[in-house]
Symmetry: C2
Subunit: 154 residues, 2 copies
Amino acid sequence: MTLEANLSVGLVANRAGVSISALHFYEKKGLIRSWRNQGNQRRYKRDVLRRIAVIKAAQKMGITLEEIKETLSTLPDKRTPTKADWQQLAQHWQRQLDEKIAYMQRLRDRVDGCIGCGCLSMVNCPIYNSDDYLGEQDSGAVLLEHPELERSGD
Amino acid sequence: MTLEANLSVGLVANRAGVSISALHFYEKKGLIRSWRNQGNQRRYKRDVLRRIAVIKAAQKMGITLEEIKETLSTLPDKRTPTKADWQQLAQHWQRQLDEKIAYMQRLRDRVDGCIGCGCLSMVNCPIYNSDDYLGEQDSGAVLLEHPELERSGD
DNA sequence: TTAAAAGCTCAACTTAAGTTTAGGTCAAGA
DNA sequence: TCTTGACCTAAACTTAAGTTGAGCTTTTAA
């Protein structure tokens, strides 16, 4: 039971700190895999635990399950992933995290600027028409093309 | 039409860069207000534009509409909000943004640590049982209380 | 052996932040 | 006058990431 352990779903749920329904869900979404025993119950290899840990870690970084799935799919299919494999994943997500942090910081600084300069008319506010980025999260740059508003002192 | 302009919904949508349905939605949720003309069409005061701009800005910071609504509710109800009023809001959200950035950075550093130290067993990985925080976003600390796993070298 | 605990599937429900659709009204220009 | 465009409401739909419930089976422990 050391290397080819067959862990039950309840056990995995407990150890990984996720609910059973979440495990079902991840499986349906193709993020983890199991086989069945004679009684149709799920059985897992032990390395599913790391996989789940990695999934949860990535989620904390704000990565969606879809992206996680894609990235996980770069792992070797046949052999058990090595440390180097996991490191690659980690670095991949770390870069994304760096971008996110940078974006947030730009945003923060811009708000700073807004507060400082009092340009809260928001019309030519640097928050807008900025180098907006960050995939979904964002609703797209705002177009403010009616100049008559610009003198508004409200 | 300078101070008490009554803007139509289409006009506001255009200038604020949001859809009409979003405006209906914000109104239903109590984030913005309008009155009706004789033909039951919405009319807006001009400062709704700033309000929407502020809503969108806050959303970019990752604030939910519910939180935004709450914070907006601290604005004076009777008079038109002053610059100082908006500044207070901005500072409030900025603090939240700062916390978020700090959280992301802690996360990043921890992943760094993980990569560096090779502790990718994820069982005693510093990503877990960490000073986790950040309201929803997070799924709660993971309990990994079965020591037998810890020798796993997978 | 038998009852409780653990599992299974499938479908419906949840929240957030809107969008889409359907069906009806109102106002303006040719 | 008629038609187009802007508006109205209400309800249903969308995505993400699961959760909850119903109804049924398997496994485990006394």
